[in-house]
C-alpha cells in the first residue's frame, strides 16, 4: 500500500518535473536561436526604394468638390424617381396607354431607343470624366 502510494507520488512528481523541463527545453531552443545578419545590399536596397518613393508624385486625391454636384444631381434624380414611383403606385405603370406606332416600326423604334439611351449614357460618362479631370467645355 505504502509502495503503491509512493509510486503514484513519484509518477506525479515526475510528470510535473518533466513538464517543467519540457518548457525549459523548448524555451532554450527557441530563445537560443542565432542572429541573422542582413545581406550587405539590404540597406542600399531599402534606401533605393525609399528614394523612389520620395521622388514619386503624390497620388491624386479624389476630387470630391468637383464630383459633389454630379453625385447630388444623380441622387436627386433617383430620389425624385423613387418618390414619383411610390406616389403614383406601381400597378398604375401597367395601365399606360398602348403605343400607337404601326407594327412594322415598333421593333426598330425600340432598338433606336436603346441605342439613343446608350449614346446618352456614354456622353454623360465622357462629360463627367472630363469634369473630374479638371477640364471644362465639350472639347
Amino acid at each position: 500500500m505504502i509502495q503503491h502510494k509512493t509510486n503514484r507520488t513519484v509518477a506525479e512528481v515526475t510528470g510535473s518535473c518533466r513538464e517543467a523541463m519540457d518548457e525549459t527545453r523548448i524555451a532554450d531552443i527557441l530563445a537560443g536561436e542565432g542572429e541573422l545578419i542582413p545581406s550587405s545590399g539590404f540597406l542600399a536596397s531599402v534606401m533605393e526604394r525609399v528614394q523612389q518613393e520620395a521622388v514619386a508624385p503624390l497620388p491624386i486625391p479624389f476630387p470630391w468638390r468637383r464630383a459633389l454636384p454630379g453625385i447630388a444631381l444623380t441622387a436627386g434624380v433617383f430620389g425624385w424617381g423613387a418618390v414619383e414611383l411610390i406616389r403614383q403606385g406601381l400597378p398604375e405603370l401597367t395601365s399606360l396607354p398602348p403605343l400607337t406606332l404601326p407594327a412594322a416600326l415598333i421593333a426598330p423604334a425600340v432598338q433606336a431607343g436603346w441605342v439613343a439611351m446608350a449614346l446618352g449614357v456614354s456622353l454623360l460618362c465622357w462629360l463627367l470624366a472630363r469634369r473630374l479631370a479638371g477640364r471644362g467645355g465639350l472639347l
Binding site: 509512493t6 515526475t14 518533466r18 523541463m21 523548448i26 525609399v50 518613393e53 520620395a54
Partner: protein
Amino acid sequence: MNATLSAEKNFADPDLADVARVLTGDVAAFEGIVLRWQGPLVNMAWRYCRDRGRAEEMAQEAFLRAWRGLANWRREGSFSTWLFALAANVYRNELKRFPVETLPLEDVPEAFGPASQHREVEERIRQEAVRRAVLALPLRYREPVVLYYFHEMDVAAAAATMGMPEGTLKARLARARALLRERFPLLKVACTAMELTALTTGKEAMS
C-alpha cells in the same frame, strides 16, 4: 520650455533625431533608422517565415511602410515599439497573403533516436524541428511564441508589439507550449534519472 525639452530628447535619442530630420524632408536621415533596425527587423521576419530571402523582402516592406507612416507616428510609445508593431502587422498580412508552406504540426518529424551516434548533428536537427514546429502552429498561437522569444522572453514587449493585453498573450503562450509539448514527447526524457533516484530513495527511506 517644452520645445527645449523636446529638442534635448531628440538629441539624446538618435531615432527621434532621425525621424525629425526625415519629417523636414531629409530623406538620407532615414538611412540611420534602417542601419540601426535592419538586424532586428530581418531577424523578426526570419522567425515568422524561416526563409532568408523572404525575410529581407518582408523587412524591406516594413521599412517602406515605416517611411510612409512616420508622419502619423503619434509618439505615444517608444520608436522601437511602434516600429515592431508596424513590422508585425506587415509580416502577419504578408503571411496571410502567401502562407509559409508547413507540414501539419502532427506531421513534423521528431528527430530523436536512441541509436543515433551523432549527438551534435542530432541535437541541431531536433532544435530545427522544434523551430519549424512553431511555424506549424495556428497563427494565433504562433505569433505570440515568435514575438515572445524574439523579445527575449519579455511579455510586455511582445504584448505591445501585438497590441494585445499581457494576460491574453500569456494564455496563448501557454496553449502554444502545450501544443509543442504534445508534439515533442521525447523532450520529456530530459527529466534526469538522478532526480528520480533521489526522489525514490527519499521515499523509501521514509517508508
